[in-house]
């Protein structure tokens, strides 16, 4: 997954590239210092940002990967991402609450029949997707 900083929204690709080019080396050193002293800082900053986004959640946002009317892929991808996120963060012993974003999105988009079938599949080991 691409690791883009959630707290620095881009205002356009060109300005971000110049910004990074100008201050990239300083940011890299700063990141190394911070990540050495506070190994969980990035994840806790991200968790706070995501927590506020989850609290203000209205509905699933536009996803540029799925721009057309058929959103089945969107539903399935968020379901997969929820389970993958849980697995990845619990393997790293981090808090899995950011993964609730994916759960909110798939509960908004997916038909509940599908979700129930997939949940049964995951419990029974017959789920076809890669989680």
């Amino acid at each position: 997954m691409q690791r883009k900083d959630l707290l620095c929204p881009t205002s356009g690709n060109k300005s971000r590239a110049n910004h990074i080019a100008a201050f990239g080396h300083q940011r890299a050193k700063q990141r190394d210092r911070i990540s050495f002293r506070y190994p969980n800082l990035h994840s806790s900053i991200m968790a706070d940002a995501i927590e506020s986004k989850i609290k203000n959640y209205r509905t699933a946002p536009f996803d540029s990967r799925f721009p057309n009317t058929n959103q089945t892929r969107n539903c399935f991808q968020n379901y997969l991402d929820f389970h993958r996120c849980n697995k990845a963060l619990s393997e790293k012993d981090q808090d899995t609450s950011p993964c609730d974003w994916y759960q909110r999105v798939y509960k908004s988009i997916c038909p509940s029949v599908w979700v129930n079938n997939w949940d049964e599949g995951i419990e029974g080991g017959s789920f076809a997707g890669r989680v």
């Binding site: 721009p67 057309n68 993958r84």
Partner: protein
Amino acid sequence: MSMLALVRKQLKSHPALIPLFIFIGGGAAMSMLYLGRLALKNPDVSWDRKNNPEPWNKMTPDHQYKLFTVNMDYSKLEKNRPDF
């Protein structure tokens, strides 16, 4: 005579058929170009399932695949999903 020479001979006596060839040929070329774009650039298509299983996950949040979008400004989109 080969096919092309035969057609050329016939076109000389019926020159009004030349625009027909132009338009039909252009239409066929555009169809093939669009199929080629679909095959090679569509993020839903995965040619190599082992090394590139989910190419749609490699798009940036402001990548626009559609040719024309009416109401959506892709340059203003940001990544809004948590990393893991």
